[in-house]
Symmetry: C2
Subunit: 446 residues, 2 copies
């Protein structure tokens, strides 16, 4: 398996990037992989973010079996990683498309070969519309974005009719005190009336982001509302095609799968281990195409998404049946830099390297470079009493016990608690095999 | 004045970057500037981060006059922006060197022409030392880093003696419950003994970061301790050269200037407006070279550093005498995307674009594109009751009044509350003139 899509194979990577080893001139990812770097041999300048290939693939396999059991389409959110290699990995694994959030993200994905994009956001502003207008000249490019007001429908309609183009839109439903999205029937009527006046806009479905809510009953109610609106618009022949019904961030996708398929598709089948299942269509009997959009599953984390996964495995029989569960596939490695007090180590890892908005990095592995150390052959699990208590721009405070065998120059791996805000700290992320050898470089385009 | 250093003039910028306008192939910053983009004419894909040239230069002029009044050297912290153009701007303005925090940052600065670097951090790990070893083969490159333990002195000494190279080190002093740095006399004795055994390490001075403390009396006491240690090491002839005494983040640099010059230099002179003052040497009578390191002054902010500046202007007579004071030179511009409730607007700006660890972005300017709007000719100050109450990955929640004249597609500028963690969200930042025209592109290398 190669992770790099063809159009990234020729992209050059500069030696002036964080978390790589030494090289003298711009090289391709394949050329870098051929340098034979190994993390444990201290070939990388730390701090470094790394991805573990085997865990990425395991997580991908988990999700494919989950989605196949529900027979729903998959457009994983790409804003998490903004890494074309990871987009391609997921498309190769049967994803229907990639979800993105901004015109810039759509451009970055398109330029790396993605040809079906659900922009789960409003497209606002003339230059942002112009980006999409240019891409839509490629008739192979399939694109959807959201409308939640008559005003934005009017802006989009005016722009794209002047360009003599059509734009696929989904109606976004929201909740009171939430983010974007239509709050009530009056707003919905306004949007529908505006769409009627804008022939350049094709209504193609209904979208929700349930993650603005924080409890399951409210989420189920919101999803049932989306189902009801979709049924109503179907009955009114409002859609220009078989409609998309889409929801699901990374925390509640099981609930979205349950609610949407309960209303519109066959009941779930037992999960299988088939690698050839085609995640490309709902049951022919279904009136809608259900599209789920979780993005963080691919690397998973040790924070909110780990807790969400535990909840899911308790309550959802499909999730529970899939073993192994999701595993963290992203680590940050850093050196112990100073142990100025018996209970405090300072680690060379900070807010410039790691997300800190959903919890601080969690020590996962300890490794002492060199052969003198008895455990040098493999990283050992970090003691559970090690805890990061503070993150500064370039430093982490680690609480330790005075008796711990920890030294300056030791290497530590950290789990992270929010993949999105970790990925955007790194432009190049080595992908490692099970022996910690670098087999590829994932680039990001934030 | 041109901001780009010579070695950036030929660097190519890809169209796949956030916050730029449209172009079809890689261009240099000068070629992009020649495209004639104007922010108010909607030539940039928002959200975008922009720098205002005139305010950068005003802030730089402010700092130069402040430092000249104290006759101290300046090595602004480059981790804030990691932008070679901004490094060069400050070096052209008389900075003695650039401060950085990691081996990767040093590499990025060196590769863009910086030849004197104070790494205000420990250098840990074989690959990180190897980066510096390679750079130090250039005899024009002057480099300092910190030691705060015998263990790290031994690591560095072993590595650089094997390379047959010498490494300049400063002793870092710390405070109890703080970050890195020597806590007590026993630790200091251990480090000095280790340095005596490592001929490849040249002791060149004493370093503190007072920003780990949060109140002025404790900071003054810590700085006086640094002075006392420096005096003692001077009396013991410990230094390999006229020593550097360095401190000062962006919040307390006035106090550092006061304490260090009170002990080691002439009393401050009244600030001047001279543009030709050479910020290159302390008084010949001084026994040490005092180096201050604030980095955030260049863009300033609307958060902690604004409050620090107000404190400074109340208590420090030099700071008070310098008018105008520091001004915010960095804005994030974004579109109003949705107004789903009468008191809530959703803005297309999020945690992927802005720092949020020291306060959320603050609405600064409001602009309605197009000529129909009476105030279209210039952005207007945002009403003071507009407030960002929540930042998600790609969205901001803005509290408004139902009577406000705010529409979808309006453009808003936001002040930010932590320059460092905003810069690292952007790879390319347009530099604007007073008419909001793009005159250069600052690149960053995080």
């Amino acid at each position: 398996m190669t992770i790099s899509p063809a159009n990234l194979n020729s992209a050059l990577i500069s030696p002036i990037n964080k978390g790589l080893g030494p090289f003298d001139r711009d090289l391709t990812a394949a050329e870098i992989a051929a340098l034979g770097w190994n993390l444990l041999r201290e070939d990388l300048v730390l701090p470094a973010a790394v991805l573990y290939r085997d865990k990425l693939l395991s997580n991908q396999h988990w999700m494919r079996r989950f989605l196949d059991a529900y027979n729903v389409r998959f457009a994983p959110h790409g804003k998490t990683s903004m890494s074309p290699q990871l987009f391609q990995l997921q498309l190769d694994g049967g994803a229907w498309g990639i979800t993105l959030a901004t015109a810039h993200q759509v451009l970055a994905a398109y330029e790396h070969g993605v040809r079906r994009i659900l922009m789960a956001n409003q497209l606002v502003g003339r230059p942002n519309m112009a980006v999409l207008s240019r891409l839509l000249r490629d008739l192979q490019f399939e694109f959807y974005c959201l409308v939640d007001s008559a005003e934005i429908a009017n802006h989009l309609g005016a722009f794209f009719s002047a360009e003599n183009q059509q734009l696929n839109v989904l109606i976004e439903l929201g909740v009171p005190n939430g983010r974007t999205g239509i709050r009530n029937d009056d707003q919905l009527a306004d949007v529908l009336a505006a769409l009627d006046r804008q022939p350049s806009l094709r209504l193609c479905g209904v979208e929700v982001y349930e993650g603005v809510l924080d409890n399951e009953p409210a989420i189920r109610q919101f999803l049932q509302h989306a189902v009801a609106v979709t049924r109503r618009l179907l009955s009114e022949n409002r859609f220009a095609q078989k409609p998309i019904l889409t929801g699901a961030g990374s925390a509640w996708f099981d609930i979205v799968a349950e609610e949407f398929t309960a209303s519109f598709a066959d009941p779930p089948r037992p999960a299988t281990n088939s690698a050839n299942s085609a995640n490309s269509a709902n049951s022919a009997a279904s009136a809608v195409n259900i599209v789920l959009r979780p993005g963080c599953y691919l690397t998973h984390d040790a924070g909110n998404y780990q807790r969400a996964h535990e909840r899911m495995c308790r309550s959802n029989p499909i999730a529970r049946s899939l073993q192994p569960g999701l595993e963290t596939a992203l680590h940050l490695w850093a050196y112990v830099q100073s142990i100025p007090e018996p209970t405090r180590a300072i680690i060379g890892l900070g807010r410039r390297d790691a997300a800190f908005d959903s919890g601080l990095p969690v020590p996962a592995l300890h490794f002492r470079p060199g052969s003198a150390h008895p455990g040098a052959s493999a990283p050992q699990p970090a003691p559970t009493h090690w805890e990061v208590t503070k993150l500064m721009d370039q430093h982490a405070y680690l609480t330790i016990d005075p008796a711990d065998d920890l030294h300056i120059g030791d290497m530590l791996a950290f789990d992270i608690c929010h993949p999105c805000l970790t990925f955007d700290k790194w432009r190049t992320i080595p992908i490692l095999d099970a022996e910690y050898s670098v087999i590829d470089i994932a680039q990001t385009f934030f």
